[in-house]
Symmetry: C2
Subunit: 233 residues, 2 copies
DNA sequence: GAGTGGTCTAGACCACTGT
DNA sequence: CAGTGGTCTAGACCACTCC
């Protein structure tokens, strides 16, 4: 007979997790309320609360005032992807980072970019195309649109040495954004930049960021063939 | 002169966020310690602590005992993807869900699956191929391998009505897993199942889940052309 | 109305780590 | 060693929501 000793919220967390995994508490079941659990575990209610909040955040519990806490019926798993700066991502793989500016120009935004960034046709927009390399091989093609009105300082940025990806992270914080992942066939231009064949399958990340209501930038990252984005759950 | 009134941790959170976004506190800067902030905001240290922990979790602050709290130099943004049950994902889009079993068989696991699941060549493995449909059109091809030793009950499961995706979520909780996203060209078989052309670009999710040290299942989800996975950051 | 979770407070002790 | 964040406790009040 081993008495379990519970001293901190991590212990409560793993004990509750154990009861869910061992199906002592099954999906849909209501579990005891915080006061009862605190009594059982011999700790303060705040400690139980902390553990249960973490479990609710991760989608394993459903909590509602008055209704109590239940084991989630369909435990929606959440994967947390960290979105690194490309330079960091490459260097963390132990590869040599390289970078080249392809083009930089003021342009009229095409309709899809206008829609994504919710800007007018005559907004001042900077289009920057660059490529990032790992050990000398093309790694990702960065096709970026920057709203100059939102980031006037960008006019004096030098994108021959530092990528817009890096420059923006360091110089223009954002308050919100959205991100989408998809697959596409390599176009002629993408194939040239990424040194692959036309028609290969490429992984694509599209991201837009905002400062309050103002669009800052929208970017399409097209990765060289074989790229995998990976995380633990 | 508007005095800001701070009553809860969310207020502290947004005030600190504001100071970071407005560059009052710049990347790399050390910010006042919890006691000072609590005094300034007129609240308890625990309240400040809660807010700063959330900000640290989201990657905007770096906190270390003794060294204090600093604004992250490269604010690594984290995107949280919820991994839904396919049926739910389709129904939440307002489309009619459909499902079909293509094949189900005991098989010797091929080398790549053996490696992914870390099982021996003579392990009992069930291979299930299915397709999920949205409004009658193929949506995703599910190519799944299940470790029968880890889930003996699976032998009595009926995959003609319910997909293994759904069955496993309801019947076999897992303690850990990993997930990868990539792009691939449609093979002959995939094209047939997904009613698309050979050589189209398809979005792929590969996922393996574990109960402690035992592999439960490994699945490869190949989505019909045009699929986008989307989230806010 | 009443039961539940959400949060705050004040104080305390501990764990880590820079100097 | 000493400063900082990490956590616990006991008690309190509030907000939400089911009945």
């Amino acid at each position: 007979m081993t008495a379990l000793s519970i001293n901190n919220w991590q212990d409560v967390h793993s004990e509750v997790l154990h009861r869910i995994h061992s199906r002592q508490w099954k999906p849909g079941d209501q579990i005891p309320n915080e006061i009862e659990l605190a009594r059982e575990f011999g700790c303060a209610r705040a400690t139980v609360n902390r553990a249960l909040q973490v479990l609710a955040d991760s989608g394993l519990l459903d909590r509602r005032r008055k209704a109590g806490t239940r084991v989630a019926i369909h435990p929606v798993r959440k994967a947390t992807l960290s979105i690194p700066i490309i330079k960091q991502e490459i260097e963390e793989k132990g590869l040599a980072y390289g970078y080249a500016l392809i083009s930089e120009a003021r342009k009229k935004p095409p309709p899809d970019i206008r829609a994504r960034m919710q800007i007018s046709a005559d907004a001042k927009i900077l289009s920057v195309n660059t490529v990032h390399m790992a050990d000398g091989k093309p790694y990702v093609f960065e096709d970026r649109w920057i709203n100059v009105d939102a980031v006037p300082e960008v006019s004096s940025a030098d994108f021959t040495k530092q990528s817009p990806n890096e420059w923006l992270v360091e110089n223009k914080p954002f308050t919100s954004g959205d991100i989408a992942f998809s697959a596409t066939l390599a176009s002629q231009k993408q194939a040239e930049v990424l040194a692959c064949k036309v028609g290969e399958a490429l992984f694509v990340i599209e991201r837009s960021t905002w400062d309050a209501q103002t669009a800052i930038t929208s970017v399409r990252l097209t990765f060289a063939p074989g790229y995998r984005m990976h995380t633990d759950i």
